[in-house]
């Protein structure tokens, strides 16, 4: 319990920036640590399973690729775009803002870090 008490949850927007794009009916989100120090935290907490849960009902599956050299993770979100490209009826037919939708996700972080970042 003591261990737990020192944890808090924090939205990814305080830990990462992101850009997204499309390939057919798949959206990709590149999630980039705001500081290289945060990358291990992203690697540990932003798992494909958690991202799939975050986007439940919006995507059919999630793949994750690691780019430690860029302190980044790349996610492929399958069947995310209502057919994609010209077929899609979505405002975001090309998945341009799936990036910030991922930044809504909350992950557990050390309490001190959460306090420092949510203040900045």
């Amino acid at each position: 319990m003591a261990q737990r008490a020192r944890k808090a949850t924090l939205q990814l927007r305080y830990l990462a920036h992101a850009r997204s794009g499309d390939k057919g009916n798949t959206a990709n989100v590149g999630l980039i640590a705001l500081e290289p120090d945060y990358y291990p935290l992203l690697l540990r907490e932003v798992t494909p399973a958690r991202v799939a849960k975050h986007f439940k009902g919006m995507v059919s599956g999630v793949d994750r690729f690691e780019l430690p050299n860029l302190s980044a993770l790349n996610f492929l979100l399958h069947d995310a775009l209502d057919g994609g490209g010209t077929i899609s009826l979505k405002t975001d037919a090309q998945g341009k803002v799936y990036s910030t939708a991922l930044l809504r996700m909350e992950i557990p972080v050390p309490l001190a870090l959460a306090r420092r970042l949510s203040r900045s």
């Binding site: 920036h17 992101a18 850009r19 997204s20 794009g21 499309d22 390939k23 057919g24 009916n25 798949t26 990709n28 590149g30 980039i32 705001l34 975050h54 986007f55 009902g57 919006m58 690729f65 690691e66 780019l67 430690p68 050299n69 860029l70 980044a72 790349n74 492929l76 209502d82 057919g83 994609g84 490209g85 010209t86 077929i87 009826l89 979505k90 405002t91 975001d92 803002v97 990036s99 910030t100 939708a101 809504r104």
Partner: protein, 458 residues
Amino acid sequence: MSDRVVRIAAGQGFWGDWLEAPVRQVRGGPIDYLMMDYLAEVTMSIMQKQKSRDPRAGYARDFVPLMERILPDIVERGIKVTSNAGGVNPRGCAEAVLEVARKLGLAGRLRVGLVTGDDILDRLDDLIRRGHPLADMETGRPLSEIRDTVLSANAYLGMAPIVEALRGGADVVVTGRVTDTGLTLGPIFHEFGWSPEDWDKVAAGTVAGHIIECGAQASGGNLLKGWRSVKGMADPGFPIAEASPDGTFVVTKHPGTGGVVSVASVTEQLVYEMGDPRNYITPDGVADFTSIRLRQRGRDRVEVSGIRGTPKTPMLKVSIAYFYGYKAVGTLVYAWPEAFDKAKAADRILRRRLADLGLEFEQILTEFVGVDATHGRLSGRPPADLPEVQLRVGVRARDRAPVVRFTREIAPLVLTGPPSVTGFAGGRPAVEEVVAYWPALIDRREIEQHVKVDILSA
């Protein structure tokens, strides 16, 4: 020689990009090449449609008046241009550029390299008959299932014909479906005389191409990290790759321009439209994005090094566009108070009417702009009583008739639905033809023997 760099400047990131950018790239400082990418996945089909109405059309028309503005500078400064503006009619595009050059008094002073052979529309039946299924890379379905609806089919070519055109003395290289990265790789390989089988060098040039191919998206545009602190975006500097003979390069922009070139701006562009980062496949080779090292080397200068690559694959990608059906999107704006509830009520009424009319759609999609259009259910519950909400309803069908009828059902809601509604001055929504994209692979030997490079003189 060892410290010689080749400067490749991005002029357009897509068909419709900022028209001033190429002019400023040419006049704002030293560059050796101007690279202009015009072709997105569905652009070829739009061009094919234009060509079917007018055999002289079918290329990025913006390119010609743009060249008219910059050709005198290009000739004066010895800058060369690589562009896939040719679309489905590269010959028409090349001839239009030559005509403009003559008009400018540049006869005898400009050579245009014309690359053809990517267009396989007329060869499709023969290819299918000879056992090339051209199956959809996403679904695995063979092309024969939709053969009758195909509008355009082009193989993605790499840098080889561009290198050949430059070697032949071309000042402006006009191509059809050459990859975005090939437009940058071509000049670098031509200048440094690298072997096309030096896979690390191919990968390095590919990464350089990928970074600059979307224009200002690498130099401050659409940059999320610290977006408020990006200055001067009314006059953004488009990216320039300064390539060195050792395979490293620096991404920068002209001095005095707006925007920023930083590790963050380059990284955001690197991950854009990324698949498996270890296998970034182009016709020229395969780049490993996990090998890329970025270092800030002064203001608006990012050094890119360490890139590794592996050999090209035996296949080329083919971009096929086919007729899919019809769609339309209707919108109405509801005002405070209870704007969201009014918009939801209007959506229910509309859907009931569409059902009562017996209209059949493949898809009806409702979004409430201001509430959930960008992030869906992740948007959460909206704040109480929004000032306004836009109802946005889209429909898609294989047949035209139900879509046409849908476009007649939006305006009536103004007088027969919830109150405080506006924003319908644009009239009935347009019925759009849906042209869909069918990505496939083909044995590169089927394509490469047909690729042709002509050098034309003004």
